[in-house]
C-alpha cells in the first residue's frame, strides 16, 4: 500500500535526488583533478559549484523534511500549515532549478559555495521565512518543557536566516571595498551558517535516538542542554579558525581559538560514553538507522579530532589552504551530516531493507574512509612543502598526485554506495505506510514502536552514567 505524499516526504525525496546529482558532479570534479579534460562540457568551474550546491541542498532539504515530519508528532498537534510547507518546498525546488541553470549557463556572481547570482538568494530567504513561521506556530503548542532538540531546531532555523543574510553583505561597498573585512565577514557568516544547519541535523539525530529507544529523558537532561549551549557558543564565536592567516584584529582570532578548544569537552564525553558502550557490547547496529547513528558517532569522533587539531594556530599554519580542510569539510558534510540524515530517512521509512541497501552502507562508509584519508594525506604533504619550502604550486601538485588519484578512485566507490542507499531509501519512502507516516498529522506514542525497530543505542548508557 502506497503512502500519501506529505511535504516532509517531498523534502526528503527532493533531498535524496539532490544528493545523487551532487555526488555525480563530485565524481566529475574529482576526476578533473586527475584528467583535466574529463567531461569537457562541464568544466571544473561549473562542476564544483554544481556539486557543492546540490550536496548542501541535500542537507537542507532532508533536515527540513525531518523537522516537518517529526515536529507535529513531538508537539502532538498538526503542523500549523501544510499548505505553507508545500509552498516552501515548491519555492525551494524552483529556485534550485534556477541555480542549476545559472551554473550550466556560466552565470555566476556570488561567492564560494553560493556562486549563483545573488538575486536568487531572495526566494531562498523568503521560503525559509515560511519555515520559521510554521515552526514557531506549531512548536508554541508544545506542552511543558522544550526538549533540547526543539531548542536546536528553533535556533537553527532562526540563525540560518540571520547568517544567510550576513553572507550577502558583500553586496554593500562598505564590505567589498576592504578585502580583509570582506574575507572576515564571509567566513564569519559561513562558520555560523554551518553551525545553524548542524543544529538542525544534530537535533534530528536526537529525535531519532529518542523515538527509537523510547527514552525521553535524554533530550531533557542537563547534559543535553549543556551540549546545545556549547554548540550554540561555537556557532556564534568559533568561526574565525577559518581565517587565522587573514590580518584582522587579534581578538577575533584568539577568541575563536579559545572557543574552539571548548570542544575538547565534547570529545572527552564521547570517549567516556564510547567506553561504556563497548563494555556493554551494544552499538545500535541491529537496524539500518541504528547503524547509521553509530557510524555518525564514529565520524563525529574522527572529524572532531581533526577540527580540534586544525583549530590550534600552530597546526593550522600547515593545514590551512590544503586538502586537510577539504577532508574536514567532506568528513563533516558526508560523514556526519549525511549519515545522520540517512538514519532519519531510514527511520521514517521504517521497513526491512534489501541486501543492496545494506551493502550500500558498507561501500559508502569504506569509500568515505579511503576518500578522507587520501585528502588528509594530500593536505599534509601540501602543507609541509608550502610552509617549509619555496616549491612552486605545480611541483607541490605533482607530489600530492598519488593521493589525488586515490581520492578520485574512492569517489567512485562513494558514489556507488550513495546510489544504492538513495535507491533503497526512495523505495521504502515511496512504498511505506508505517505508523509514523500513516497520518501526516497524527502522533505516535513511543511505546507503539516495535521493540525490534528500536535502536539499542547509547542514550540509555549516557543516562546511566549521568545517574
Amino acid at each position: 500500500m502506497r503512502s500519501e505524499l506529505t511535504p516532509a516526504k517531498g523534502f526528503v525525496i527532493a533531498g535524496l535526488l539532490s544528493l545523487l546529482c551532487g555526488a555525480l558532479f563530485g565524481v566529475i570534479g574529482s576526476w578533473q583533478h586527475v584528467l583535466p579534460n574529463f567531461v569537457d562540457a562541464i568544466p571544473f568551474v561549473k562542476s564544483r559549484p554544481l556539486h557543492v550546491s546540490l550536496v548542501i541542498a541535500w542537507i537542507f532539504l532532508t533536515a527540513v523534511g525531518g523537522v516537518y515530519h517529526y515536529l507535529p508528532k513531538i508537539v502532538g498537534v498538526p503542523l500549523h500549515s501544510t499548505r505553507l510547507a508545500w509552498l516552501h518546498l515548491a519555492v525551494f525546488i524552483g529556485t534550485g532549478f534556477a541555480v542549476i541553470a545559472s551554473y550550466f549557463l556560466g552565470r555566476f556572481g556570488g561567492r564560494e559555495y553560493w556562486e549563483f547570482p545573488p538575486a536568487l538568494g531572495i526566494p531562498i530567504a523568503l521560503s525559509w521565512s515560511l519555515l520559521i513561521y510554521n515552526f514557531f506556530r506549531t512548536a508554541n503548542k508544545h506542552k511543558g518543557p522544550w526538549p533540547a532538540y526543539l531548542w536546536m531546531w528553533a535556533t537553527g532555523v532562526v540563525f540560518f536566516l540571520i547568517t544567510y543574510a550576513e553572507a550577502n553583505l558583500y553586496l554593500f561597498p562598505h564590505f567589498t571595498s576592504n578585502m580583509v573585512r570582506e574575507l572576515t565577514v564571509q567566513w564569519k557568516a559561513y562558520g555560523a551558517l554551518t553551525g545553524s544547519w548542524n543544529l538542525l541535523v544534530y537535533g534530528t539525530a536526537m529525535v531519532v535516538m529518542e523515538r527509537s529507544t523510547g527514552n525521553t529523558a535524554i533530550a531533557r537532561s542537563k547534559l543535553a542542554y549543556l551540549l546545545f549551549g556549547l554548540g550554540f557558543t561555537n556557532l556564534l564565536f568559533g568561526w574565525a579558525h577559518h581565517i587565522y592567516p587573514v590580518p584582522s584584529a587579534l581578538w577575533i582570532r584568539i577568541l575563536a581559538y579559545a572557543i574552539s578548544m571548548t570542544e575538547w569537552i565534547i570529545l572527552a564525553r564521547m570517549i567516556h560514553q564510547w567506553r561504556a558502550t563497548m563494555e556493554d557490547g551494544k552499538n545500535g547496529s541491529s537496524t539500518l538507522f541504528g547503524r547509521f547513528l553509530f557510524a555518525s558517532e564514529v565520524w563525529v569522533f574522527l572529524n572532531l579530532g581533526v577540527a580540534l587539531l586544525i583549530s590550534i594556530p600552530a597546526i593550522n599554519l600547515f593545514a590551512h589552504g590544503t586538502h586537510v580542510i577539504v577532508a574536514h569539510a567532506m568528513g563533516s558534510t558526508i560523514g556526519i551530516n549525511t549519515t545522520i540524515l540517512f538514519a532519519s530517512v531510514f527511520f521514517i521509512g521504517e521497513r526491512a531493507h534489501s541486501g543492496p541497501t545494506r551493502a550500500g552502507f558498507w561501500i559508502f562508509n569504506g569509500s568515505l574512509l579511503a576518500f578522507w584519508l587520501c585528502l588528509l594525506g594530500a593536505g599534509m604533504v601540501k602543507g609541509w612543502f608550502t610552509v617549509m619550502t619555496d616549491l612552486p604550486f605545480q611541483k607541490i601538485t605533482e607530489k600530492i598526485w598519488p593521493f589525488i588519484a586515490g581520492f578520485a578512485v574512492s569517489g567512485i566507490g562513494l558514489f556507488t554506495g550513495l546510489s544504492l542507499l538513495v535507491w533503497g531509501a526512495l523505495k521504502v519512502l515511496l512504498a511505506s505506510n508505517n505508523k509514523e507516516e500513516g497520518d501526516a498529522h497524527g502522533t505516535v506514542e513511543l511505546d507503539a514502536i516495535p521493540v525490534e525497530n528500536r535502536c539499542p543505542s547509547m542514550p540509555e548508557k549516557v543516562m546511566q552514567h549521568q545517574r
Binding site: 571544473f44 557558543t233 577559518h242 590580518p247 589552504g321 605545480q394
Partner: protein
C-alpha cells in the same frame, strides 16, 4: 516571533531550558554575538592604510572575479579552490608580478582557461589582485611559534 517570545516567557509552563538563568545566558550570548558582529564589520577589520582600500578599478575587478567564478580554482589567504595556486601575493611574488598576471588572464596557462576578457577587464582584475596583495602576506613561512600554540605573525599583523 510572538510565538517564540511566548515560549521564552515561559507561558507554556516550566521548561528545562526555560529556567530564568538559562534564558539569561542564551540572550547574553546573542547580545555578545551582536557586539562581536558590530566590531567585526567596523573597527576590527579597518584597513591599515588607504592603499589597502579597493579603488574603483579594483572593485570592478572583484566583481569580475566573482562573475568568472575564479574562486572555484584559486584562493586568497588559503580560502578557495585547490585546482590553481593561491593568488594573494601573485602580483608581488618573485618571478611573477602584474604583467605575468595580465598575461595569464589573457592567454590562459596549463589548466587555466583563456577568459576572453577585454584589455580593460584584464586591467581591472590585475588592479584587484594588486589591492589584495597590499593587505598582507600568504603563505606564512616563518615558524615563530609561541607557547600558546599561536605564531608570531598572527600577533604582528593584527589590526
Amino acid at each position: 516571533m510572538v510565538a517564540f517570545n511566548k515560549v521564552l516567557d515561559g507561558s507554556n509552563g516550566p521548561s528545562g531550558f526555560g529556567v530564568h538563568r538559562h534564558r539569561v545566558v542564551y540572550f547574553v550570548l546573542v547580545g555578545l554575538f551582536i557586539l562581536q558582529s558590530g566590531l567585526t564589520y567596523t573597527v576590527s577589520t579597518e584597513a591599515a592604510s588607504p592603499a589597502v582600500e579597493l579603488n574603483d578599478a579594483a572593485q570592478r575587478g572583484e566583481a569580475l572575479y566573482r562573475e568568472f567564478n575564479c574562486t572555484a580554482c584559486h584562493q586568497f589567504y588559503g580560502l578557495g579552490g585547490h585546482m590553481g595556486p593561491d593568488l594573494t601575493n601573485v602580483t608581488v611574488a618573485a618571478g611573477k608580478g602584474p604583467d605575468f598576471a595580465r598575461a595569464v588572464i589573457f592567454h590562459g596557462s596549463g589548466l587555466m582557461p583563456n577568459l576572453a576578457v577585454s584589455k580593460e577587464q584584464a586591467d581591472d582584475l590585475v588592479a584587484f589582485l594588486e589591492a589584495v596583495a597590499a593587505t598582507g602576506t600568504y603563505p606564512i613561512r616563518s615558524l615563530d611559534l609561541t607557547p600558546w600554540g599561536t605564531y608570531e605573525q598572527m600577533h604582528s599583523d593584527a589590526k
